[in-house]
């Protein structure tokens, strides 16, 4: 039995390679009844007719260009629901959201133009999300929402619904780039080195430790530079040639 499962797993992995599995996330819109114990009504997916107190609308493919996605649903009762937006995947590469509307009307702070000093968005609950202000990046206005770093991340806000009311929820979404993810991860190594250099600089006796060559680190940096050159076609001169992997 175990052997069969192993063969099946290998088969699935090879199929993924043949069909070109992707490392990029899609987007998931998930409306839910806020308190199913209190509000005993269901939401209806108008496309499929599916009824549940929690619906899932998935869009698997995002591109780097902004695109509007639309979902239509209705409620079978009066009450409060959550509108939750998040990535569909691992959360390793950022996705961006902007201009979230219900029946063509922007939700409160649906364009994420209001921003708190800590990067959160007033009117929204968020987990691992951040408002980014860059007119070149946002679809409209100056800001949009960036989700990154966790598959459970997302933004959500509540909305009052009425029985039988049809709602078209639409939003703009696009994917970020793997290069953003790499730069973000590499920032942690940079911070470590920065701190090591600072500490060593602050204490005379320690400076010599930090000035010592570190071949392990140098080899690792060169391996990354080589990968970047071969796979991403982005060239940076390597550190001393003696630190290359054999």
């Amino acid at each position: 039995m175990r052997k069969r499962l192993e063969i099946l797993a290998l088969l699935l992995i090879s199929m993924g390679n043949i069909f070109g599995a992707i490392c990029y996330d899609g987007v998931r819109f998930c409306p839910c009844v806020a308190d199913p114990k209190l509000d005993k009504f269901l939401l209806v997916d108008e496309r499929t007719g599916k009824k549940s107190d929690c619906l899932y609308f998935d869009e698997r493919k995002l591109t780097q260009q902004w695109k509007r996605f639309r979902f239509v649903m209705s409620a079978e009762g009066d009450g409060l629901i959550w509108l939750r937006f998040g990535p569909l995947g691992t959360g390793e590469i950022p996705i961006y959201l902007d201009e979230i509307q219900v029946n063509g009307v922007l939700l409160p702070n649906g364009g994420f133009e209001e921003k708190s000093p800590d990067g959160t968005a007033p009117g929204w609950n968020l987990y691992h999300g951040k408002v980014v202000s860059d007119p070149g990046l946002a679809f409209a206005g100056k800001s949009c929402m960036r989700l990154f770093h966790s598959s459970s991340q997302g933004v959500w806000q509540s909305m009052v619904v009425k029985c039988g009311e049809k709602m078209e929820i639409s939003f703009m979404a696009r994917t970020g780039s793997a290069l953003e993810s790499f730069a973000d991860e590499l920032g942690k190594a940079q911070e470590n080195l920065e701190l090591a250099v600072k500490i060593a600089g602050s204490a005379r006796g320690l400076a010599s430790i930090c000035m010592r060559p570190n071949p392990e680190l140098a080899r690792c940096v060169n391996a990354l530079i080589l990968l970047s050159e071969i796979q991403l076609h982005i060239s940076v001169p390597p550190v001393g040639s003696s630190y290359r992997d054999p």
């Binding site: 992707i22 990029y24 991860e185 080195l193 090591a196 250099v197 930090c210 570190n214 140098a218």
Partner: protein, 73 residues
């Protein structure tokens, strides 16, 4: 190659990635869109680098602690 020089090299690499990201922002599909194995390779290298740099940071911190302790004694 000192940690200071390596830090500067990583900064150069980050700048080069950022320049490429800006250059390719108009492309419909981002880089490595259908190459998850390459994405994982590069991520693993970065994680390894983060681990080595964290070890160096801890070494320097411990040296500082012991040096201060010696000064007090």
């Amino acid at each position: 190659m000192t940690p200071e020089a390596l830090r500067d090299k990583l900064l150069d690499l980050t700048k080069a990635w950022d320049a490429e990201r800006r250059r390719s922002a108009g492309d419909e599909l981002p880089c490595l869109y259908d190459k998850p194995e390459v994405f994982a390779d590069i991520k693993n290298r970065i994680l390894e680098l983060t681990q080595f740099s964290a070890e160096l940071k801890i070494d320097v911190l411990l040296d500082l602690v012991f040096m201060k302790k010696k000064e007090l004694l």
